[in-house]
Symmetry: C2
Subunit: 322 residues, 2 copies
């Protein structure tokens, strides 16, 4: 339907208005001025994080647009979960190669649909952004609230703490390997792994429940070992893992080093073991104790298998510039 603002003439402003502006629910002033206005609740600290997603680096160019929209916000929501924060507000800056045809506009509409589906799922107001011309790039900044002093940091793990992980890391990496022809999955594992890759579920409820319970937390974006390593380094401790999860041998690399899952790895005092077991039941979410923190060489991770035999740990996860 060509009109006065047909796709060929979509301006920066009408693009923002048409696809990325929706009513806000807990915001003083949303999209449309030089800045948005929010009023944080008293007694709260704001947790803030930003993530940039680039075509080719973070997602396949032919990724479904709605899935990509979901994931672009979800990976940021996951940072809030890892801090024990309630996600509340987000901004989206987008560089697009152009808006010259209807296919492009359809793609943007689908991206926005997935993006706002995630915003609605987690009660997030989209309060601003930027749209410009350039190679495809999405940059989200997200804000959450946490009571003063209660944020979950990477730096609080102590010797004797147990190490836990939610869900089953590695599913996203396996789904990607299947799509790239590097492995072959059959149902129901295939659907399960593709869902983890395409519509990751940030563990917000878990993060909120871990306030006052976990000594440290991080989300698995770079891989279980790599992200646990960040906790160890920040906390000045080491870890011994007992890899007793019943997994096919070919899945271990994905479990330990596959990124992009957005499960949480966290540590708790051993005295709270029963609380975590109860929490898993309450949340209907697998929470697995995979090892303990100790005062060894800072950052070092060693592991044994279910039979207490030493396990050699391979590559430590994905770094964009490694």
């Amino acid at each position: 339907m060509p009109s006065a603002d047909s796709p060929a003439r979509l301006s920066e402003f009408s693009l923002i208005n048409r696809y990325f502006t929706r009513p806000t629910r807990h915001t003083v002033l949303g999209v449309g001025d030089d800045g948005a206005l929010i009023r944080p609740a008293s007694g709260m600290e704001l947790v803030i994080s930003t993530d940039m997603l680039v075509a080719g680096t973070h997602f396949l160019p032919d990724t479904n647009a709605a899935d990509l929209g979901w994931k672009t916000l979800a990976v940021n929501v996951s940072d809030m979960a890892a801090m024990g924060a309630q996600p509340r507000w987000a901004l989206l800056a987008v560089a697009l190669p152009g808006v010259e045809n209807e296919a492009t506009e359809t793609w943007i509409a689908q991206f926005a649909q997935g993006f706002f589906a995630c915003a609605d799922e987690f009660g997030i107001d989209i309060i601003g952004g930027d749209t410009t011309r350039g190679p495809l790039n999405f940059c989200v900044t997200i804000f959450g609230e946490v009571p003063t002093g209660q944020a979950l940091l990477r730096s609080g793990a102590q010797a004797g703490d147990e190490i836990w992980v939610s869900g089953q890391p590695g599913r996203a990496a396996l789904g990607l390997a299947h799509l790239q022809g590097r492995t072959v999955l059959s149902e129901p594992a295939l659907a399960n792994c593709l869902a983890a890759l395409q519509r990751p579920q940030p563990r917000v409820k878990l993060g909120l429940a871990l306030r006052g319970l976990a000594s440290a937390a991080i989300d698995v974006s770079d891989g279980l070992l790599a992200d646990l390593g960040h906790v160890l380094t920040a906390s000045g401790v080491a870890a011994s893992l007992r890899l007793a999860v019943p997994l096919p041998p070919t899945f271990w690399d994905a479990y330990l080093a596959g990124g992009d899952d957005y499960e949480l790895v966290f540590t708790t005092p051993a005295s709270r073991h029963a609380d975590i077991v109860a929490l898993a039941d309450a949340l209907k979410l697998a929470l697995t104790c995979i090892g303990i923190i100790h005062a060894g060489e800072v950052g070092r991770i060693d592991a044994v298998d279910a039979d207490n035999q030493p396990v050699s740990l391979g590559r430590r996860g994905y770094e964009h510039f490694a």
Copy 2:
């Protein structure tokens, strides 16, 4: 000096640590966790804005890296100025084509030097960010504080208000035209215009002083007429300009339609005219009354020259997708 983390092996993490992490001054937790933590002062609202800068769209690929670093933050600081907010915190997400050689690392170091020079100038803590591989792209998100209810919005202009502009818009556009060989400037205008283009000075002090004084404000990023147009539309009013500024005829297009200057356009009740004149004196900053707001066709701008002869207004400013 090749070393264990020579440029060829700079990881995402060491890049952030080396160039984009500096001590913070008013932040609970800066770079290094899943999110930063800030504690907004009570009675304050947070003003938030994000801007994405792309090579080729927003800056020439051969722009001096330190200038680009300054400008990347300055254009965001300007949004705070336009809202009457005190800038306080910012995040920087960067996509870089690669960090394969020493020239690239030098470029990054210079960019960071300019970026932090601007942060220091305006008392801004850099509290987080993201570094990834991709076509060159910078995305800054900035936060400022303003007492509850005192933010300067675009929507408050009323019939009878005077329209003011700071400094001399168009200098950046003239500087760019000179660099691109579309015009020839001589000194001292050349140095003056290049400074406006390369090291824009956000009008933070002016924005703070306009709290309680201006009825509406916006910064000139797209061009004086285009940005004034946003105020008119948001406020539901029209404007009559009297273009009595003593400018060479060839400079008028830049004055009215040149973007990238980051001056402020604002409206005030006519009864405050003397206050604005006094403010210009106190800030040692030109503040020029260029017209009045009236209840005409919403968004319409007409103009007369110094002799009250009608002036035809040409193109209305730059839109990225226009």
